[in-house]
Every structure is written in structure tokens, then in C-alpha cells.
């Protein structure tokens, strides 16, 4: 039977996980002297079928969130499936120093993610190429204004932030102390968003976008 890995924390934090995880499977511990990981034994058919995949992802999310509510964790990317618990233990031994340092760096911190979307669409048939480019420029400017407004408003409670753009949306990752989460939410709700722009702020999540790289992987 394969194992699905959920997340890692420091043993010294003595965090607890829910009794059951994906598909109701028992959540189990794998530990070395420094690190504690959680996993479940899973049947491969837990990940076959449309409904099963989405439900498994939700179960995974709930399990990791429950541990994160207790303290500092690093989730594995879903679905990380290994042949046995020995694979998790070998991994923790190999990367122990990196996990230890990163978990200490993100101690007491949480991440929010703001996704900035444009509701306005560019015309399929613009009068001219010049007009199309002008409209696109205006749209980009509105997005940039929204990002600036958000970051400026939240800056007093932020530890860090990172702006990343993709074709579909601009994302702003926000790093905040857990004690300032309520303050961040309150400030965010007061940010004025330009017309035609939508900002969806989700969190708190484990701060996975602010990890230092593992030098061995570079």
C-alpha cells in the first residue's frame, strides 16, 4: 500500500493532526529526532474517478489546515505519494537541516494570497491595433493601481510581500504574523478596488511562497 504525505513540523512543537485524513484513512506519524511528518496509507483508487480526486484534495486540505491551526507546518504538494513510510523518513533525514531552518524562519507566520482579476474584457474587434493596445495598457494600469493600493494599505501589518504576474491574473503573496491576521483582514476589507477589477484574498495558509531554496536542489 502506498502512503500519502501531508506535512512536516518540528518535533519540539508537538503539534497534533486529526485522526483521519484522505478518504477517512488514519493519519499516522513519521518522526526523526527533529522532524515530524504526517501521512496516511492510501489505496491507489483513492485517486481515480472525478469525485474521488476532488474529495481527496479537500480531505488533504482539511488535514493540513487542522495542523496549521495549531502551529507551524510545511505542507507537501498534493498529491505526494510514496511507496512506503521509509521513503518519507529517508527524505526527512536527507533534508533535515533545510526543514529545520525553514520551519524556524516561518515560525509564527502565515501567508495570504490576493488574486487580482480583470472583469473587463478587451474588445475582440477593436477599431484599430492602436486602440486595442491603448485599452490593454489602461487595463494593466488599473491592475497595477489595485496592487499598489492593496500593498500600501496592508504594508503596516506585513512582514513581506511578493507580486507575481501570469496571463490569467496577478497574484500578491502576503506574509504576516499570525497575531496580525485579524488586522490584515480588517484593513484589506477597506481597500478600494478600481472599477473592473476584482481582488480575492484568501488565507491564512502556511507560508510556502516565502521559503528559502534548498541549495541542494539548485
Amino acid at each position: 500500500m502506498s502512503v500519502l504525505a501531508y506535512c512536516v513540523s518540528l518535533v519540539s512543537d508537538n503539534l497534533k493532526a486529526p485522526a483521519n485524513g484522505v478518504s477517512g484513512a488514519r493519519v499516522q506519524l513519521a518522526e526523526n529526532t527533529m522532524l515530524r511528518a504526517w501521512y496516511s496509507e492510501v489505496e491507489t483508487d483513492s485517486f481515480s474517478g472525478t469525485e474521488h480526486v476532488a474529495k481527496a484534495a479537500l480531505d488533504f486540505h482539511r488535514c493540513v489546515s487542522a495542523v496549521f491551526n495549531e502551529g507551524t507546518v510545511l505542507p507537501f504538494r498534493f498529491p505526494t505519494i510514496l511507496d512506503s513510510v521509509d521513503d518519507i523518513l529517508v527524505h526527512l533525514d536527507e533534508k533535515g537541516v533545510w526543514y529545520y531552518e525553514v520551519l524556524q524562519q516561518i515560525e509564527g507566520l502565515a501567508q495570504f494570497e490576493a488574486r487580482i482579476l480583470t472583469k473587463a474584457k478587451l474588445p475582440v474587434e477593436a477599431e484599430s491595433g492602436k486602440q486595442y493596445l491603448e485599452l490593454r495598457k489602461q487595463l494593466h494600469k488599473r491592475v497595477a493601481n489595485a496592487v499598489e493600493s492593496l500593498v500600501t494599505t496592508l504594508e503596516p501589518v506585513l512582514d513581506d510581500h511578493d507580486i507575481r504576474e501570469s496571463q490569467k491574473a496577478t497574484r500578491v503573496y502576503l506574509l504576516v504574523e499570525r497575531s496580525k491576521v485579524a488586522s490584515l483582514r480588517a484593513k484589506a476589507a477597506k481597500v478600494t478596488v478600481p472599477d473592473g477589477i476584482e481582488i480575492r484574498l484568501t488565507g491564512p495558509w502556511p507560508p510556502t511562497e516565502f521559503l528559502t531554496n534548498d541549495e541542494d536542489e539548485e
Partner: protein, 86 residues
């Protein structure tokens, strides 16, 4: 959810049910630690990580179907393709 017509939609927290399934899926499959040596499969621009190839083939098909028909009907449907072992 707390929001206004012109404000930020603040989701999650005590009422985490207001975060959509798509946002949760996007989050769990695109964030987190990747174990070195895992097989990486790209699906609709999202990397899925598996070690068991027999699991991959089933899961990618079903996840792709799920994303096309239930979660995000406008997503393109690229063929699942292994990007190679790391």
C-alpha cells in the same frame, strides 16, 4: 465572507467554506514541498507530483476530466504529458 461592492473579497478564516473548490485545488496542487526524485506531470499548467506511475496515469485523467467538467469548464485540456523525472 466580508466584502463590499468596490472592496476586496476577504475569504477564509472562520468561514473557510467561502473559499471555492477551485481555489483549494489550485492551492494544494501548486504549493508545498516537492520531494526530490518525484515524477512531475503537468496538467493545465499545474504540476502534479507522484512517485507511483500507476497512480499518475489514472489520477491525471480523472483530475483533468474533473477540471474540465466540474470545476473550471473553460480550462483548456492539454494532453497529460510527463515532463521527466527530476
Amino acid at each position: 465572507m466580508s466584502s463590499s461592492d468596490t472592496g476586496v473579497m476577504v475569504l477564509g478564516g472562520e468561514n473557510s467554506d467561502d473559499i471555492s473548490l477551485l481555489e483549494i485545488l489550485d492551492r494544494v496542487v501548486s504549493s508545498g514541498v516537492v520531494i526530490h526524485g518525484s515524477l512531475v506531470i503537468s496538467l493545465a499548467g499545474v504540476d502534479l507530483i507522484y512517485l507511483g506511475l500507476n497512480v499518475v496515469l489514472t489520477a491525471v485523467e480523472t483530475a483533468q476530466q474533473s477540471m474540465k467538467t466540474h470545476i473550471h469548464p473553460t480550462l483548456p485540456a492539454p494532453a497529460a504529458r510527463p515532463r521527466g523525472k527530476r
